[in-house]
Subunit: 181 residues, 4 copies
DNA sequence: AATGAATGAGGCTTCATTCAT
DNA sequence: GATGAATGAAGCCTCATTCAT
């Protein structure tokens, strides 16, 4: 339910009451329990659904054989467009990174995504295209920066124009790329 | 109380019960209410205390007349060392950015810090040292990246060595600096 | 439904959910409400059905003109055999004696059975065959003892052989009979 | 709390709401949870408290070296007097025999009491004083009869005079005793 | 100043019952 | 007739807060 996502984004997991979600969704509290055995199960299901959606989206658009910078650009643009189209969902995913109420299945999904990305980073480093910093750190810098950008967009402090996406992509590429000079 | 911070970092504001904090602090629940009128007041007081502590720390070390990159480097290193020395406090500050239970005073403090920083960014942009992107965005990219780094440190996924601090500082400077070429 | 009886015996009236009964019976929850207007009506109907069944059984086998001890023996054996053949139903009847959700019709049925039995006891006392104790008490002693026997059988603590039925019948007859000596 | 016992006796475990107990006890629902971690814990604690009270009572009055019939008489009278003095508590104990929400500790207590009693029965049988029926069955007959008597007393259908206690004791002794003739 | 028992509102969840299909 | 999704009242329990000691 989209209603649940909005609530969770606004107030967090513990700050959101199940009846609030139900009201927002226009159903009764009991009805939620026909579809989800518990509040935890609900949040996990939502998490996995959207996390895999964003993963699919990037994966689908990913230019397999292209240069690394082009791949980076595509990933950044896809993520940004996703965040622009589904701001609530994106905020939801970001919010729940590493939350204690996520179950093992959700955690496993996270790890898989990260492992895959780390593999790509290592490959690019081996080609001398990225700075020789711990891949985990490089990823955290990039995704952290991206989250920062999206947070500002959510709060209405900036508009997420294509130009801004392009400019921020360039900035973050500069952060991780090994300067040729 | 340091105990409260640990609890809030582990479980979030709504997920932390006042008696839990009291127990962790080794006092009774009632005692907390001698010092703080409410749970919200407690969290706000903690927030302001540590936010101003980190602000003071950066401000004290800040090299007023130095070149911008040097200023950036000092800020980054001070923040990183703070996060290394007070991991719980730093996690606490980061966690509560924009939380709904922060009061106006806390929000005002945030805005002041941000406005000040934005002023510095504008100045550097006017000198042609930083990329001509919305200063708000530049700041979010940098602080977002920094939070990402610290998160990885908190989770034990990386060690926060001086070398890593230096390398990440360089990467983030590359992200925001205007390339001379 | 036999399913309902099993559930009620296992968990009691309040501890049994209507959907549980439905699932056990292999039908949907809504279907139950085609046949019974409410959970209370269901339990009352079951109660009357089986209570009258056991009453019929004893009544049918009852040797009208025989000596009192013979009558007692027949009653005891019939009850015991019923409990052996329909353990769930018997446990159900016993469980719901005097329960607050039994309606007036069920209560009336109980009273009729008891009044009838009490009449027989009085008759036997008048003949000097039973101890001159309040007939209500005599009945409670006998049926209480019988329930105790059956409870042990239900719990698997004893086997309900014909020999045991006979021996316990003799014991309970000794309890109520006036010793000739 | 005596209030809880009354409620449980009236409506059973599942039929009694915690707020009902609290109201009856004149405290708030939350207060109960200062003293008992859960409704189950409450019922178990009450059960053990009163079960051991009745056990103590019989044990204290028990005439160790006396003839078996005298021992039986004492036990019966003590039980009856206890039931007369604490009708709610006695009804409560009886009600919860073998209930599914009793925990292992309570069940163990039951078993210990029963094992002890069974030992005495065996001893008496070896002396040729009791009928040679499975001791478990003899006990169930006697306690079942006793419960029946008390049930009638609870319902106000009989008065529990000393004479009645004596008469019923005699009847139940006749049930289990081996007739000398 | 410190305690911790007491409170009652509110949270998560269940369940008897209804009703559109 | 049968279903099972929907409901909302109510159940168990937690928790921020108060207050007598």
């Amino acid at each position: 339910m989209r209603a649940a996502i909005t609530c969770f984004v606004d107030r967090g997991f513990h700050g959101t009451a199940v009846p609030q979600i139900a009201k927002q969704a226009g159903v009764s509290a009991g009805t939620l329990y026909h579809y989800f055995p518990s509040k935890e199960a609900l949040v996990n299901e939502l998490y996995r659904k959207w996390k895999s959606a964003v993963g699919q989206r990037v994966f689908t658009a990913f230019p397999q054989g292209a240069p690394v910078h082009e791949q980076f650009r595509v990933m950044w643009h896809e993520l940004a467009r996703f965040a622009r189209e589904e701001p609530a969902a994106f905020g939801f995913i970001e919010l729940h990174n590493h939350a204690s109420y996520l179950d093992e299945e959700s955690a496993q999904m996270d790890r898989n995504l990260k492992d895959f990305t780390r593999g790509m980073v290592r490959l690019a480093q081996a080609q001398g295209l990225l700075k020789p910093i711990d891949p985990t750190v490089l990823m955290e810098l990039v995704f952290g920066a991206f989250y920062g950008l999206i947070r500002a967009y959510h709060d209405g402090r900036v508009e997420l124009t294509d130009e801004l996406i392009e400019a921020t992509e360039q900035a973050c590429w500069d952060a991780v790329a090994l300067r040729e000079g």
